[in-house]
Amino acid sequence: MISFRKVQVKTPQGKVLVHETSFEVPKSTIVGLYGPNGSGKSSLLRTLAGQLSERDVSGECWIEQTPIFQSSVSISEKARRVLYLGSDFQTSFHVSVRELLDMAKHTNPKSNENGTEVAEKFGITKLLSRSFNEMSDGEKQRVMLARGVIQSPDWLILDETFSKIDLDHSFHLVNELKNVVKKGKGIVLASHDLNLISEFVDELWLMKDGKVVASGLIEEVLTSENMEKLYPNRIVHVVRSPDNGKKKVIY
């Protein structure tokens, strides 16, 4: 369970990045986060993951009974509760994919995930001996997702981590992640691809100008009215997919 209580995020200069907000998200939920650029998504996600550097954060954040904002909690403890993954990864050093996955396992030795199996499921087995910085952006993202699963924190925060992954892989990975969630984990995913989100998530939050303007089940939240709120100058249609009846957007 994530418990956000009256959290507000400001820059040291006083500009508000995320207006005061409170929410609770139970385990085994996948939450989607969507909004225009600059709406505060990354700030919210980073704060959620305890990455507070250079920001003024007020309020409390509890993830599975661990107070994330308190400095008395050890970093290794926090890493077992929540892991933040962005979209761009790089290293100046020679690190193989296998080594990265080992590092993940080492971070959380109690993780039940088996590296080889996860690699298999995520289709990166043939990438294992490759050097991380030799891979394409899409491959890097897939590898990082696999790493996230192996590290097995209670909550995975994915900040546009699917941005460079192609359609085929995306669908495949989404399903794998759903399996992970069934085991009692949680995911918060931010993406510019609403259609991917709608395939994936249980709940949807919409953000604009640092505020969460709508939240709830995706059925209820993904509406033309809400799209209009986010993009007053653009027409966005919300329709149903002929395949599985999930809501999709057309623009």
């Binding site: 926090k78 100046s92 690190v95 296998r98």
Partner: protein, 326 residues
């Protein structure tokens, strides 16, 4: 998967053997190259041996420091010399010495440690505030280095005008100035720090993907950086105090070890960095001593001569790869 591991272990064995072989050759060269047979035992025990021990101690320490700095700053071009830490140490030592503050460790001036720490502190502050890209960090380091070197020159001009030899010592390195006792104690220090870093290999590994990913691996960014800075300052400080500024060992050795081992994991890389750092400096010293006999070339000049082109190559190579690491 298993063939990979087996191949890796085999490769490691070969590397170990090569390392041992080169180490022995280096030791023999340092002890016996250009030696006068009429005085051999005396020269070896009184003159060559202290240099050998010091060369290994300083070389291994600088290589270690270079590796740790590269990791913690996420910059393959970082090392005590290029980041101005060595210059800061020299300045610190010179100031303390002139002011008569002689507290130290086996005759090594602790002012060097403070100087090193100050530079690292300034460096981190600036990097932190401005989120510099990797090449900018190196540029900053070079500027800090120049700054300290010029302050050192000014200090020398005002406070120690007859110190021509001192300036050469500080700026170009000299392994013949301290005795065996000090050399051995520095060797122990280097060994102890190696053991410490080795124990915390995993924590260092967390830095490999950049600062923003460190905590994701369960490692405290600030705490680890602080400890690394303090330890590196102590190590570099005492090295510079004993042997002046010797550059590029901390740059070349980690780079080549990582390349040869095909890995950056500290558990794998640290032992070889430690030993090869020692080997490099022993060889450089053997060359510096013998090549223009009876003129004694400064050992730092030899390492710079060999290392600067490597630095340039790495810099160009990194830029062309388009790596944008802060």
């Amino acid at each position: 998967m298993f063939e990979e591991i087996a191949k890796g272990a085999e490769r490691d064995q070969v590397t170990k053997k090569i390392t041992l072989f080169v180490l022995i050759v280096a030791i023999l060269l340092e002890l016996f190259l250009r030696i006068d047979s009429s005085n051999m035992m005396l020269v070896i025990t009184e003159l060559r041996l202290p240099r050998l021990v010091l060369a290994f101690a300083v070389g291994s320490a600088l290589a270690l420091s270079g590796l740790v700095m590269q990791t913690v700053l996420n910059n393959p071009l970082a090392e005590p010399y290029t980041l101005g830490v060595a210059s800061g140490a020299a300045l610190g030592a010179a100031i303390f010495k002139t002011l008569g503050i002689s507290m130290g460790f086996f005759g090594l001036n602790v002012g060097a440690v403070f100087g090193a720490m100050l530079v690292l502190f300034v460096l981190f502050k600036i990097v932190f505030k401005t989120q510099l890209r990797f090449d900018s960090v190196v540029l900053l380091g070079v500027m800090l280095s120049f700054n300290c070197a010029s302050m050192l020159s000014i200090w020398m001009a005002l406070a120690d005008p007859v110190g021509v030899q001192s300036v050469t010592f500080w700026l170009l390195g000299d392994l013949s100035r301290v005795g065996l006792k000090t050399s051995i104690s520095l060797l122990f220090l280097s060994l102890i720090f190696f053991t410490y870093f080795f124990r915390f290999s995993k924590k260092l590994d967390a830095f490999l993907f950049g600062e923003s990913m460190v905590e994701g691996f369960g490692v405290s960014l600030k705490d680890t950086q602080k400890v690394a800075v303090i330890l590196v300052s102590i190590l570099v400080g005492f090295c510079v105090s004993a042997a002046g500024m010797i550059g590029f060992v901390g740059l070349m050795v980690p780079h080549f070890v990582r390349k040869k081992m095909g890995s950056s994991l500290h558990q794998k890389v640290l032992p070889f960095v430690f030993v090869w750092g020692g080997i490099c400096l022993i060889l450089s010293d053997a060359i510096a001593h013998a090549i223009a006999f009876p003129l004694e070339l400064p050992v730092g000049a030899v390492t710079s001569l060999l290392g600067a082109p490597v630095f340039i190559y790495l810099y160009v190579f990194q830029k062309s790869k388009g790596e944008n690491v802060a």
